[in-house]
């Protein structure tokens, strides 16, 4: 019950209803919708991993796709080279966790030295590009730019079944990340976000905590990459590209940074819009260029909606509450 400690009754009911709806919907929906929703769930986890970094530590990592892509490749390579069984899946998960925490450690050691958001953004972009480049050239293992198609364990083959796995994955990861944010370490990260200098004065080794944050984000991202690979039964270098990192950034921006749940809202919005626009390709070829819309959405959000949907919603709630309070106050007079 400790998990539910901080959730009030109303929210609890809302989440319950949402879960019931989400378990019934796939039985009524088209296959394409089921796939889209699985995609939304997995990318929500990926975006949450980004939110841990950007929203809770304020650090803009432009090489974040490195973890995501690596997860997809680790799964793909193991399924291809060993066997497509559940045992190998578990192995892939374990290796992804180890690999991503190591990679995050190295990345952190390089980035957190220079200090500053600017330097970090530039350096992580370079690191991410290097990873993508390496994957492209290491043809014997990754099949280079052609991409790596692979077979997946039978249990994941059914789209409907996989929908539930993806949903469970999202639920578990949300709970774990929420616990992380509420943990003492998470609190320190938030303190760093509010005022790094003060956290330093209080005696916290801020680099160490940021490194932990980066590792948690890296591992989460890697695991969502494994799931994304299984969903597509395919991995390619795009999954390691800056574009993939920007996907996470856009999702968290649209949803609202520093909220975790914003990532879920953002993922639903961005993926649905993308799906819709790509469906319009038959109407006009301009819709082939999804990135144009992607970029435009991005710029608009940064300029006009820096708080995202969740931010707007919170503001609405707050306004309503203060209005209510002031009304009570007036009555009192």
């Amino acid at each position: 019950m400790k998990l539910l400690k901080n959730i009030d009754k109303k929210t609890f009911i809302a989440i319950g209803v949402l879960l019931v709806v989400l378990s019934i919907v796939p039985h009524l929906a088209k296959l394409s919708t089921i796939t889209l929703m699985s995609r939304i769930f997995i990318l929500a986890v990926y975006a949450m991993s980004y939110d841990i970094l950007r929203g809770y530590t304020g650090f803009i990592n432009l090489g974040h796709a490195l973890f995501f892509g690596s997860g997809a490749y680790i799964g793909g390579i193991l399924f291809t080279k060993i066997d497509n069984t559940m045992g190998v899946f578990v192995l892939a998960v374990i290796i992804t966790v180890i690999y991503c925490s190591l990679a995050a450690y190295i990345m952190g050691k390089i980035v957190l030295r220079g200090g500053g958001v600017i330097a970090a953004a530039m350096i992580t972009l370079a690191l991410g590009e290097i990873a993508r480049n390496t994957a492209e050239r290491w043809r014997s293992v990754t099949m280079g730019a052609d991409g790596l198609p692979f077979k997946i364990p039978d249990i994941f083959r059914d789209r409907l079944g996989f929908y539930y796995y993806a949903l469970i994955f999202l639920i578990i990861m949300t709970i774990i990340l929420r616990q992380f944010i509420l943990s003492p370490t998470g609190r320190v990260l938030m303190a760093i976000r509010e005022n790094e200098q003060r956290a330093t004065f209080l005696g916290y080794n801020t680099s160490k905590y940021k490194l932990i944050g980066l590792q948690v984000a890296g591992i989460t991202s890697g695991l969502s990459g494994v799931m994304f690979g299984i969903l597509n039964r395919f991995a390619n270098t795009d999954l390691l590209s800056v574009q993939q990192t920007l996907n996470a950034l856009l999702i968290t921006l649209v949803g609202g940074t520093g909220t975790l749940y914003g990532a879920i809202v953002g993922s639903a919005f961005v993926n649905t819009v993308q799906n819709y626009l790509l469906d319009l390709r038959s109407v006009h070829p301009i819709f082939e260029r999804w990135l144009l819309f992607f970029g435009a959405m991005y710029v608009v959000v940064v300029l006009f909606m820096p708080e995202g949907f969740v931010g707007l919603w919170n503001k609405y709630l707050k306004d309503r509450r203060t209005k209510k309070n002031s009304r009570v106050f007036e009555k009192g007079l």
Binding site: I110, R113, G114, G115, M122, I123
Partner: protein, 288 residues
């Protein structure tokens, strides 16, 4: 010995190209505290506009000039309408320039297609000289000369002109520059656009060197420029010049002696520099 000379020329030419991007990036960063993530796109636009004009008119010079002018205008547009709205907000600056990068890179694909376009060197720069058994590619010498001239030009501009004074003063105290009656925003736009024009020139000169231009070239070169800026020290002009040379020479050497390491070499270098000198070799403290 022969190979040494060839590598030296290759490295210097490569360095000159990187310098065209890195210098603008570094000055913009120093003056305005903005990391310009559109730099790769501006480079790309320079390349494509050059190829476009060059194929039409068959004039190399017109192509280069056209690239410089149009990319200058594009830079001014970016600054005026987007970047200037988010000065002082570092994350928003990074995000907005990234967004523009995505849009304008995709526009390149929309206008010119996603497949690489081939382009030849102009006839008067296409040849080679053979001196004492060493084959020297004329175009590379041309790049070195251009890089050198631009470096000297920027140096003169920074040290001798009023614009240079304002830039050097603005890096330290933009508020005080204003309080002396100087409209620094005008300089911001100018410097941003000039940095863009340098990137555009880089793109225009890059295309004939490689023999083709494709939409992925922008990001690749931007990453090199970022590494240079990090190594050289953010906001330092000298640092960007030295860093470019170093990266160019190292790139040439690694490509010859250990091509498989080409990818990791740059990053290893960057990591080493950061490990020993977190502010870069010519570290200049950048605000924030």
């Amino acid at each position: 010995m022969d190979i040494f000379v060839t590598l030296l020329i290759n490295g210097l030419a490569e360095g000159a190209l990187i310098f065209l991007m890195a210098s603008g990036l570094s000055i913009i960063l120093g003056l305005m505290g903005v990391v310009n993530f559109t730099h790769g796109t501006l480079f790309l636009w320079g390349g494509y506009i050059f190829v476009w004009i060059f194929t039409f008119t068959n004039s190399f010079i017109l192509g280069v000039l056209g690239a410089i002018i149009i990319v200058f205008a594009l830079g001014a547009f970016f600054e005026k309408f987007f970047v200037s709205r988010v000065y002082g907000n570092v994350p928003a600056q990074i995000l907005i320039t990234l967004g523009l990068q995505v849009i304008f890179t995709d526009l390149v694909r929309l206008f010119w297609g996603a497949t690489p376009i081939t382009v030849a060197r102009p006839s008067y720069l296409a040849g080679t000289w053979t001196i004492g058994g060493v084959t020297i590619v004329q175009y590379r010498i041309f790049l070195i000369v251009v890089g050198l001239l631009i470096a000297l030009g920027i140096h003169k501009l920074l040290s001798k002109t009023k614009i240079g004074m304002v830039i050097r003063a603005g890096v330290q105290r933009p508020d005080m520059v204003q309080a002396l009656g100087i409209n620094i925003k005008l300089y911001f736009t100018l410097v941003f656009a000039a940095g863009a024009a340098l990137a555009g020139l880089g793109g225009a000169l890059y295309a004939p060197l490689v023999g083709s231009i494709s939409s992925t070239a922008g990001l690749h070169n931007q990453v090199l420029a970022f590494i240079v800026v990090v190594i050289g020290g953010m906001g330092s002009f000298i640092g960007s010049a030295a860093g470019s040379l170093f990266l160019g020479l190292m790139g040439a050497a690694v490509a010859w002696y250990a091509p498989s390491l080409a990818v990791v070499a740059n990053v290893t270098l960057m990591a080493l520099v950061l490990a020993f000198k977190p502010d870069g070799l010519f570290g200049l403290a950048v605000k924030k």
